[in-house]
């Protein structure tokens, strides 16, 4: 394993993008950082800028307003990048299927590596999703 890939697995930095979710998944993502689940012990940090991130966590069906912003944020994440779709909305658009305001799901627009199911998924599932994505990409 090359040293760059190894260090990426050691400390994956996360960027979280809300593309129109109900805030349920967003809270669970923040909850993974708090003492009960504490992903920071695995080297994960939620960063403020997509340019610093290795992993892009996408929640929500992509709304029409967020579509150009979503593409822009995706392009700003440096290669090699991993995209994790968190929640049922980001997998299929679940309860909002049929709405004319929805342009998603995200895998229509950008390649998605791992899907984490649940409405919202438990923090354990989100951690598992990040680990799976990193294994798939670098392991």
């Amino acid at each position: 394993m090359k040293i760059a890939a190894r260090s990426r697995i050691k400390s994956p930095w996360l960027f979280h993008l809300n593309t129109g979710s109900c805030a349920g998944c967003d809270i669970e993502i923040v909850a993974t950082l708090t003492p009960r689940y504490d992903v920071e012990r695995l080297g994960c940090i939620l960063v403020g800028s997509p340019r610093h991130a290795d992993v892009l966590l996408v929640t929500g069906p992509v709304t029409r307003q967020m579509l150009p912003r979503f593409i822009r944020v995706y392009e700003q994440v440096p290669e090699p990048k991993v995209v994790v779709a968190v929640g049922v909305c980001a997998i299929s658009g679940s309860p909002f299927v049929g709405s004319q305001m929805i342009e998603g799901p995200p895998d229509k627009i950008v390649p998605v590596d791992v899907y984490v199911a649940g409405c919202p998924p438990r923090p354990e599932a989100i951690v598992n999703g990040i680990v799976t994505a990193l294994k798939k990409k670098f392991g």
Binding site: L17, N18, T19, G20, S21, C22, A23, G24, C25, D26, I27, E28, V30, A31, T34, P35, R36, V47, G48, S49, G60, P61, T63, R64, Q65, M66, R69, V73, P95, F96, G98, S99, Q100, M101, I102, C119, P120, R122
Partner: protein, 405 residues
Amino acid sequence: MTEKFDEVKEVKVDYTRLRVPLGPVHPALKEPISLTVTVRREEILDVVIRLGHVHRGIEALAETRNLIQTLYLVERICGICSHSHTTGFVQALEEIGEIELSDRSLHLRSLIFELERMQSHLFLIGIMAYEIGFDTLFMFTWYEREKILDLFEEITGNRIHHSMNTLGGVRWDLSPSFVEKVNCSLNKIEKSAKYIQEVFQDKTVEKRLCGVGVLDYDEARELCVVGPTARGSGVKVDIRKAYPYAAYSELKDDFSVVLRNTADAQARTQVRILELFESINLIRAILEKLPDGPIYKESVIKLMKKIPEGEATSLVEAPRGELLYFVRTNGKEGLWRLNVRTPTIPNVLGLKPMLIGSEIADIPVTVASIDPCMACANRITVVDQDKRETIVTDLKNLRNRGKKQ
């Protein structure tokens, strides 16, 4: 080479008015909201607030689904106050269908309501601590919040979307052994809430929050802000007291409305901390008074078929303030119209007077102090007044319509 560095270029920048775009994707904001801030050096002169980034067309979707499907859809308007949304919707339907509920189911509804209020307030107190750079307190508060989520998980099976309400009652019951467990957790949470209250009275925290984002009494009345934002400005509004719903008419004496007069971020945070204790008192009272009886009437499908054509409004006090539901059924298991007025819409309007005159560094604290929930505030559909139609169109069509007119 040295000559080049010695040259001093004069760059003329007009610092008198500078427009700074904030959002929709910004590290200080957890949910998409766009603020265009005009500043003179550090002072904020004007703010333009733009919403609509998480508009999912829920009201239009509800018109294409039946009542039970809509119940699960309105739950997903917002992930933090999901129980408030379903309660508002179900209450309106029960008024139309003239369904009477058992006392036990009403008490259980109130119980989940108060637990949700506590989880939402702890969430906000944590975010406030995070915004002022006090990460330890943020972690501590969110650790306490997990205890409430555990209770939710034991009662309903879910952490965030509880799916507790249904037409004519609630879906899950409490066992007697579980009541003890709730009491035990409440004691622990009360202890740590007292600790959080002490920390927020610390001088460093007070200096960061006092005088930030001031919204005085008159402005608060004028803008009709609701919930803890209004109570922090000294406006006495609480739907639980004014128009009691669920079991609150029986619990009137078990809680009081918390008011603060300083009208800044500190006051709004204090209101939320003190409401934690009120909620703890309410939950204890509910568990004491919990009557026996069935938790739901009859099959939900049968009840749904019985609901006639009609309209009703219902009001509930969500953790962020007054939440209004207007429901008009078509008598065929569906809806003509669903209209929701969420507490964040009036509260976001209050942001403008709060921000003008303050500094750029205070924006995150001020925005966090009203506890905005953007997912709630984005449900706008196009209404054609002449034809009395509700249309959801795409941008191209809208532009073409503009050209024709």
